[in-house]
Symmetry: C2
Subunit: 224 residues, 2 copies
Amino acid sequence: MSNPAIQELVAKTAGINTVARVADIGITLLHGGDFLFRMGDTLEGIFLVNAGALKLFRTTESGDQQINGFYTQGDLVGLDALDDGVSRCEAMALDTSSVTFISWGSLLSGKRGLDYRDLLKLAGKELNRESDLALMLAQRSAERRLAWFLIEYSDRLGERKLAVDEFSLPMTRTDIALYLGLALETVCRELARFEDMGLISKNRRRIRLLSIDCLRELAEGNEQ
Amino acid sequence: MSNPAIQELVAKTAGINTVARVADIGITLLHGGDFLFRMGDTLEGIFLVNAGALKLFRTTESGDQQINGFYTQGDLVGLDALDDGVSRCEAMALDTSSVTFISWGSLLSGKRGLDYRDLLKLAGKELNRESDLALMLAQRSAERRLAWFLIEYSDRLGERKLAVDEFSLPMTRTDIALYLGLALETVCRELARFEDMGLISKNRRRIRLLSIDCLRELAEGNEQ
DNA sequence: CGTGTGCTTGAGTGAGGTCAATACCTGTGG
DNA sequence: CCACAGGTATTGACCTCACTCAAGCACACG
C-alpha cells in the first residue's frame, strides 16, 4: 500500500491488538474462523487489516465456495459493498487478526487526509486485482496457477518490505485450492512437483522460494 | 446491418466516421475491429456505449488473451484505469458502435447530475461483475459456464427492456471461449448439447432460450 | 464462383478431478 | 508422559471431461 496516509494509519494502530474491541478507535480483534462480516451484511465503511490474515469468499447456493482473495497487514477489506452497501462476500479470519473499522464518513471527512479520489483509486486497484484473478483462472494449467499464486503472494510481501523468498502461508491447502479453482490434491501434487524441480522447498505452511525467476516465468506462461 | 438504431446512427454521423474522436460532442464511431483504447493508454474519463458492442480484454506476454467482459448499450467502459489512470485492458468494437466520452471533470462537475458517490457505486458494480466472473471461472464445468453466460447475457438484455429469450450475440464463438476460459470447440459442442436437450435453439449468432429456468438451474450448479 | 472467416463435428489423448489410504502435527485428558 | 482425536497434508490408482488436432460445412464478400 503506497498511500502514505494509510501507512501512517497502520503505524498508529500497531500494537493495540490485545484489546478485543476498542469502540472509540474502532479496532476489532478476531480469532481464526471468526467472521468479520457475512454475506448480506450492510457495511458502513471499510476495514483496514493491522495484523493477521483474512480470506474473502462467496458461497454459491449449491454450497461451494470461491475465495476472492487473501488480505493481510495494510490491506483494505470491504470494497465489495461499494455498489449498494450490502456485501455479497464473507470475510473470515484465517488466524488471530486485528482490523480497524473506518466509516465512510470518517474516511471522506478529510480528517484522515483521504478523499473520494483515493477511494476511487483503491476501488481501481481492487478491480485490477479481481481482473488479474479472472485472467489467471481462465488459464487452465494448474502449474501456472500455482506459480502465479506463489509469486503474487511473494510480491505482496515485498511491498510490505518483508522477506519475499521465505514465508509462512496463513491459509490451508484447501483455501489455496478454492482460490485457484483447483482440487486440493492438485495443489499438493503441484507443490510437490515444484519441490522436485528445485523451485521451492516446503514444510507444511512454511515455504521457501529457491528460484523466484523461474517461478515467475511459469506464472507468466513462458515455456521453460 | 439490419439493426435500425444503428442504421439511424450511421446516418446521423455520416461523413465523420474517419475522425477518431469528435472533440466538441465527444462521440466516437467505431467499426468492428477498431480499438477504443489500448493497453497503456491514459484515460481521462469513461465511455458510455450508445449502440453496438465492445469487448474488453487483456493480452498476456505469452500472447493469449482473456476477455474481461462485453459491453453494450448503456454500459460504461473505462473504469479499469481508475487506479492510476492507465488502462491495463484493450477495448475493441465487435461491431459498428457508438460511444460517448465523458471526462472525469465533466462527470464530477455535477452538470450530469452525477457525483463521486455514483462513480463509486459504478466501480462497486464493476467489481461485483469481475468477482462474478472469477467465481464462474473457478467452477470447472463447461456446461455450467456456458449456461451462466447465456443467463447473464439474457439478464442484461432484460435490464434494458429488451427480449430476454431471443437475441443475436454480437461476439464470435472464439470470443465466448476466451471469456469463459474454454476451447472454442467446447463452446460449440456445449451449445449443440443444449440444443439437443431442448434448452435452446440456435442458428449461428441467433439464439433462442427455450427454457430459461432450466438454464438458470444449470448456471447455479443445482442438479437438474 | 472461389476464397476467407467463422462454425460444427469427430477421434484420440492427457491433465486434473475423484476416491481412498496413509502420514503428520497439535492439543487434550488420563 | 503417552494415547487418542481431529484437522491438515501427502501420495497413489483410476477415470472423466475438456483440450488438441483435423476435417468438413455454411455463409459473406469480392
